[in-house]
Amino acid sequence: MTVMQLGVLFGAIVLSVLVVWFFFFSEKTGARLVVSSGVQEANIVVKGGYTPDVLVVKAGQPVRLNFNRQETASCSEMVLFPDFNKSAKLPTSETVSLEFTPDKPGEYDFQCQMGMLHGKLIVE
């Protein structure tokens, strides 16, 4: 094995570790929702993903999420909260609000209809 080949092998190992870490283990930043007049509210931009994509809320208090989709790719056309049986169609550059009250603490996923974009709702 030449030095070059060893270098490539080593590079592949390092890259693989990086990829796995990046997608599955790296820390995602969460956003605590702002409470205004009893409702926990957040504005979420939908563009290749949800920004912010980790939302921290308190249990038993109504949550209002204002989604604004800033792309035309049809992947993100719908946002789903399967655990709360809530979904909304997101027309491009329109703000659509979803409201519900999470009762039980826990971690709930939300996603686009095709499961390509993911976000997490952490109920405390």
Partner: protein, 895 residues
């Protein structure tokens, strides 16, 4: 402070925009606009009697309300929920200065107020009612105002609008250039409001109705499609040039171009393809990257980016690469981008068709209605319609909203809502559904539901909600999607490394090509698209056939059903008793004491007597007899001395004869010998009917039998359910004998009779314990717990009540055939989803390894990245096209 005579704004004299002198008075203006208006027609603004507060005449009557006497208004109050609340509201209104008389009717939920418009206004009343805790049911509208510049003209416009009869609240927003008005559509109309607004000197903008949602969606789709098409055309043209130049050495004219120069030309041609036409991949990949996520864009961006970067290095810095490795892949880069754009373009067009069903439903909405207001027929937009309005519908016209027929008869084509292809006849008291088409006669109906409460709006809402839910089968695809892209990236890294280390010469080229091919061929989108597109088409198809599926889960479960429980009353049967038999007693065929063999009383005469007696009764069975008699063209006589004997029957005098109608107890009490009638009665009871004896002048005269009859197509539907492999069970609270009789008629083998309503759910559960997947079909009212308990609850709807909470699937047309169609649709949809999932799964699990080169050691096959991109583009188009095949679904009964 002075007032601008044009807009009414209060301004400081020294800070006024301009001033004019007329008839010895100086007038000040707030803006150029006001001056211009004044100059154009000063007389309009300067009026001797005008005490600076312009008089606004009523837009409705043309009479200044300030000069008129007392007025009367009807205020709908929406949340009046108790009789005492009506009193409270009445007292609150009465206490207002200027209200002469207030009368709140709890039943109609309306306040009738007589008031002096000089002392009290509608907004005052609205405010008072709100203070009392109730809401006045007004309509809301926005009217655009042209060139609204000065913020203080706002007050003036608001005051003018509020002084207009029928306006509850008006606010003007300078930022949006709009007046937001809450008004009583029964008192004024949009046109009047606009006229009132224009009386202030401003022009109104044609109401920006906005685009109807279906058009907006279509426009967005079209824009997306055109965008993709432009990018594709651009990429395709440049790619063709790139392709030609790549093979320049084989083309005589181009052979003379030095390689290095040729590569630079290729670079120049490819760069815009990648970074303009293909920019969406990089933008998408970057935003996904920032979310620590990866999608199809990531793969394409990585693949094309790697090929492009390497080629660019080879073009401009050939020195860093060994001579053998100097090669460019600009053709690959450009063609991949073009092909994937083509795929996305085709996919966008196909996806636009998936929701055709919803668009069709939205398009059904009528725009205007002819309503009777103050005794006159007026055409109004349907947004202004109110519950309680009387609407006139002529032949060939669309019925605008839901209501109840009050006058006239007709036949109506309801196929667009219920899926029923035969026109339905409508008479007094029948329900009509908005968006259906009136065929033959003209009629008037009273509106019962408007806006989002109409059956059509609810259907659209339900279907849209269902399309946003997830089928359980998608969970597997979701789990795979989560790991898919990172896995593909890992495979690409390792196929590069393995080719580089173990591959044949030229190792680097093989390594690069295989890594790029792996990235390009993988198609996570196909997997992601597989379930939702089929669900969207399937639920839409259901709505077209009068089947409302509430969730993707219900649609999925329906194909696995093994048993179906049918409620008897209202599901298998019509749920309403009908007259079935009239039997005259043999003894009555001879007039006693005479040798005349003519029957004294014919079948019809007997029925006439029975119906005449029952005319005065309120019992549901009585109604069936009366209805039956009317249907046979019998004119009913008046009954006197009517006496109802509870639990026995009724007694009355008809045309001088004493008629008894009731059960055996009534006959026994009156000592009437039944003779052979007893046998006939028992025979009818065995058939599930309810027989009633008739005695005339102390003699048994005959029997009338009444029964809840079976719906016309119940038998066929049950046969089909059996064909679909389901065990059919009938459940009823009726006695075993009646239940058995009905079961025999329709061909049900298993009968659960004498089940209390609260026990129905337990019976469903018992079937589930037998290991069956159970569906329950009922009317959704008294069997709600059973519907909820069942794996799939079907509610048989009637008319406009489509949002039946407990059900998973609502059948708008009250026929059992809907259950058959729903199960067939579920089977077709699930088959489609499985094809899609299987296809995309197989595609990826075969495509990725082949791209990585697993076939190379054995067959020497290595895929070109261009082939990979074509395959990838076609795979998602195929999934969507396959889902679109569901649009061709036809219920077996219609075939």
């Amino acid at each position: 402070m002075v007032k601008d005579p044009v807009c009414g704004m209060d301004i400081e004299e020294q800070s006024a925009f301009a001033a004019r002198n007329m008839d010895g008075t100086t007038y000040y203006f707030c803006s150029q606009d006001c001056v211009d208006k004044f100059d154009a027609n000063p007389k309009k603004f300067v009026h001797p009697s005008n005490d600076t507060q312009p008089i606004v005449s009523s837009a409705t009557t043309g009479v200044n309300p300030k000069l008129a006497g007392s007025l009367h208004v009807e205020l709908p109050i929406v949340d009046l929920d108790c009789a005492t609340c009506a009193l409270t509201t009445e007292r609150v209104l009465d206490s207002l200065d200027g209200v002469q008389k207030a009368n709140v009717n709890f039943a109609t939920a309306k306040a009738h107020v007589t008031y002096d418009p000089k002392r009290v206004s509608l907004p005052d009343m609205e405010h008072a009612i709100k203070q009392a805790g109730y809401t006045v049911g007004g309509a809301k509208t926005q009217i655009g105002i042209q060139d609204l510049r000065c913020a203080s003209c706002v007050n003036f416009i608001e005051e003018t609008l509020q002084a207009t009869p029928g306006v509850l609240k008006a606010s003007v927003n300078v930022a949006t250039q709009q007046a937001n008005i809450e008004y009583l559509p029964g008192v004024t109309t949009l046109a009047n409001l606009r006229r009132a607004l224009e009386s202030t000197g401003y022009k109104t903008v044609e109401p920006s109705k906005g685009m109807p949602p279906e058009d907006a969606e279509r426009a967005a789709r079209l824009a997306e499609y055109l965008n993709l098409r432009n990018r594709f055309v651009f990429a395709a043209i440049l790619s063709a040039a790139v392709l030609v130049l790549t093979y320049a050495e084989f083309i005589p004219v181009l052979q003379t171009i030095p390689t290095q120069i040729n590569w630079i030309i290729l670079f120049v041609l490819t760069t815009p393809v990648l970074f303009w036409a293909g920019s969406r991949f990089f933008v998408g990949a970057w935003s996904a990257f920032r979310h620590h996520a990866a999608d199809m864009n990531t793969l394409i961006a990585l693949g094309t980016g790697a090929a492009y970067l390497y080629s660019t290095v080879a073009t401009f810095l050939p020195g860093v690469l060994p001579a053998a490795l100097r090669a460019v892949y600009f053709d690959t880069t450009a063609i991949i981008v073009a092909l994937i754009l083509l795929g996305q373009m085709l996919e966008a067009r196909a996806k636009g068709q998936t929701n055709e069903a919803i668009r069709k439903l939205m398009g059904l909405q009528a725009k205007t209605a002819r309503v009777v207001r103050d005794g006159e027929e007026v055409d109004i937009p349907i947004e202004e319609m109110l519950v309680g309005d009387v609407v006139i519908v002529r032949p060939g016209e669309k019925i605008p909203v839901d209501g109840i027929v009050r006058e006239g008869t007709s036949t109506v084509d309801e196929s667009m809502i219920t899926g029923e292809s035969l026109p339905v006849s409508k008479k007094l008291g029948d329900e009509v559904i908005g968006a259906t088409l009136n065929k033959t006669g003209s009629f008037r109906f009273q509106v019962t539901k408007v806006g989002k409460d109409t059956a059509l709006s609810q259907i659209i809402q339900l279907v849209q909600q269902a399309q946003g839910t997830k089928a359980p089968i998608q969970r597997m695809a979701d789990v795979i999607s989560g790991y898919f892209v990172p896995t593909v990236i890992l495979i690409a890294i390792w196929s590069f490394a393995l080719w580089f280390i173990f591959g044949p010469q030229p190792q680097f080229v093989h390594a690069l090509v295989s890594a790029v091919t792996v990235l390009i061929i993988a198609c996570p989108c196909a997997l992601g698209l597989a379930t939702p597109t089929s669900i969207i088409v399937g639920t839409g198809k259901g709505a077209e056939n009068g089947i409302l599926i509430r969730s993707a889960e219900a649609l999925e479960t329906a194909h696995k059903l093994s048993a179906i429980v049918l409620d008897k009353t209202g599901t298998i049967t019509k749920g309403k008793p009908e007259l079935t038999d009239v039997v005259e007693a043999g003894s009555w065929k001879l007039e006693i004491g005479k040798s005349n063999l003519q029957p004294l009383m014919s079948n019809l005469q007997l029925l006439a007597l029975a119906a005449s007696v029952e005319k005065s009764s309120e019992h549901p069975l009585a109604a069936a007899i009366v209805e039956g008699a009317r249907a046979r063209g019998i004119t009913l006589a008046d009954a006197t001395d009517f006496d109802a004997v509870p639990g026995h029957g009724v007694i009355a005098m008809v045309e001088g004869r004493r008629v008894l109608l009731g059960n055996v107890k009534l006959m026994a009490q009156n000592k009437i010998a039944l003779g052979d009638l007893d046998i006939a009665a028992r025979h009818h009871a065995d058939d599930g009917k309810t027989p009633m004896y008739i005695a005339v002048d102390g003699e048994a005269a005959g029997i009338v039998a009444v029964a809840d009859t079976v719906k016309d197509d119940s038998r066929e539907a049950i046969a089909r359910l059996k064909q679909l492999g389901l065990e059919v069970v009938m459940i009823t609270g009726d006695n075993q004998r009646t239940a058995d009789a009905i079961a025999r008629q329709v061909g049900v083998d298993r009968v659960l009779a004498e089940v209390l309503p609260e026990d129905k759910a337990r019976n469903v559960q018992m079937l589930q314990r037998e290991g069956k997947v159970v569906a329950m079909v009922g009317d959704g009212i008294n069997d709600a717990p059973a519907l909820a308990q069942a794996d799939v609850g079907f509610a048989i709807g009637t008319g406009t009540d489509v949002a039946i909470e407990a059900s998973d699937i609502t059948l708008i047309k009250g026929s059992l055939m809907g259950v058959v169609v729903a199960i067939e649709l579920s089977k077709a949809t699930m088959r489609n989803i499985k094809q899609n999932l299987f296809g995309s799964f197989i595609y990826n699990t075969l495509g990725v390894p082949v791209a990585a080169g697993v076939l190379y050691p054995f067959f020497g096959i290595l895929l070109s990245p261009i082939i990979a991109s074509a395959a990838m583009a076609m795979s998602s188009v195929t999934v969507v096209s396959n889902a679109l095949r569901l649009r061709g679904f036809k219920p077996s009964a219609a075939k």
